[in-house]
């Protein structure tokens, strides 16, 4: 006999009535066992226990508790009321299915929209960027007016020509620690079992120093990585390190074959380092001079405002430099944010 089922029935029954209720239950169980076999009796007992659980308040009332006026304000009474209210609500809603459907749909859309908006607001506004002094970080966005645009329409560009970066770096007085990064590049990791495609970015070696977030292991790029002919080195994201290398610390001494070329892994980022997006799994150095070898022509630029420089002054300066680079200083308009 299932002791658990008996215990359930026992607990659902007021103490004064337990003896005869359990007695009846056991007697019934034995009668079932005699008539239909032990497994049928067992099944019956389990069902009876479930029924008692589902209908515990009614079960208690049925055996006379409410009538005798024993504690009417306990939890069972509350649960009983709650159950009745729920049943009533469901019944009423089922009577008007079209209305209920609209209500449920409205709630679902409302909750969904709220969740989506909160996710975005939380990521963009509420959670600060994990980098050093995030409010001093700026990104260059160029608004090209229609009359200067090659196709005659005003465009908003978030990238610059890679060779222009040197000019920006030389001419800007309001920005420091300038760095560029490419759009996503994918490389095939081979030589370690199954080949996998890794997504990454080519970045200025100065990028990591600019963001001011130390690696969890190893180191980041230095100025030698930007030198022509430097040994190819790579930084792995925490996620990629865990996913493809099982968080093996020896990865720092190994070299990886990416697109047939050998790279030394020099560092692993912290788990919350998601630059510029969480999909980025590696960072390789980007040299402004190696345009042909990497195929990267347009890059995004970020920088830090120098101490004392305001966003407005940096924007004004960027407008001048941007216009000059487009060859039309008078009507140039570019902005940073």
């Amino acid at each position: 006999m299932s002791r658990l089922a008996l215990l359930v029935i026992r607990l659902a029954t007021p103490p004064a009535d337990r003896e005869w209720v359990l007695g009846d239950t056991i007697e019934e169980y034995e009668a079932h066992a005699r008539a239909d076999g032990p497994s049928a009796a067992h099944f019956w007992l389990l069902r009876e226990a479930l029924r008692v659980v589902a209908w515990a308040p009614r079960h208690r009332r049925a055996i006379g508790r409410a009538r005798r006026g024993l504690s009417g304000t306990d939890l069972m009474r509350f649960l009983d009321d709650l159950r009745q209210d729920l049943r009533y609500s469901v019944r009423v809603l089922l009577q008007v299915p079209a209305f209920s459907f609209v209500v449920v749909l409205t709630l679902a859309l409302g909750i969904g929209a709220n969740t989506a908006i909160f996710s975005v607001v939380n990521a963009l506004l509420l959670t600060p960027l994990p980098y050093k002094d995030p409010d001093r970080l700026v990104r260059l966005v160029e608004n090209v007016p229609a009359e200067e645009s090659p196709n005659g329409r005003a465009v908003r560009l978030s990238t610059i020509q890679q060779e222009d970066f040197l000019a920006w770096r030389e001419q800007s007085r309001t920005l420091s620690h300038m760095a560029i990064y490419s759009s996503p590049v994918a490389m095939t990791l081979s030589g370690r079992g199954e080949a996998v495609r890794l997504n990454g970015r080519r970045v200025s070696p100065a990028l990591f120093a600019m963001l001011g977030m130390p690696p969890i292991m190893g180191q980041f790029f230095d100025e030698h990585d930007a030198a022509p002919g430097a040994n190819p080195r790579i930084v792995l994201s925490h996620r990629a390190w865990q996913r493809y290398f099982a968080a093996d610390r020896n990865v720092l001494t190994a070299s990886l074959i990416l697109d047939g070329r050998s790279y030394a892994v020099i560092g692993i980022t912290r788990p919350d380092f998601e630059f510029p997006d969480p999909q980025t799994e590696f960072w390789a150095p980007l040299m402004p001079t190696d345009v042909p070898s990497t195929g990267v022509t347009r890059v995004q630029m970020i920088a830090r405002l120098v101490d004392g420089a305001s966003l407005e002054s940096a924007t004004a300066e960027a407008n001048v430099i941007g216009g000059r680079l487009r060859g039309d200083p008078a009507s140039a308009e570019s902005g940073r944010q």
């Binding site: 007697e27 019934e28 049925a62 009538r67």
Partner: protein, 108 residues
């Protein structure tokens, strides 16, 4: 005259009458189930007996411990005088309404 008895209440009372001194939850439930062929939970029987007791149609008492069912005592139910009248009325009403209908019922 109290409120008229419901169909299941009448069935429970007939079971009490049949079982005489041996009427308690388990036997009542089995009696009804075996005679009507209607699968029945014990809670339904308790609910009805409780209602009938409130109406003064049945009364209950706890029996002496027995060797069966782990020595647990039983709660016996029996008809009160009001109950005896109610079940007689119900039976007579039934009998009068069904008198002479047997042939027709069979032909249905």
């Amino acid at each position: 005259m109290s409120a008229p008895l419901g169909e299941f209440e009448q069935i429970v009372l007939f079971a009490l009458l049949r079982l005489e001194a041996d009427a308690y939850g388990a036997t009542i439930r089995r009696e009804i189930e075996s005679r009507t062929g209607r699968p029945l939970g014990i809670s339904a029987v308790y609910t009805t007996l409780d209602r009938l007791e409130q109406k003064g149609i049945v009364r209950s008492h706890i029996g002496e411990p027995t060797a069966e069912r782990g020595g647990r005592r039983r709660k016996y139910f029996e008809l009160t005088a009001l109950g005896a009248r109610a079940v007689r009325d119900a039976y007579q009403a039934h009998a009068r309404m069904t008198a002479g209908l047997e042939r027709r019922l069979k032909a249905l």
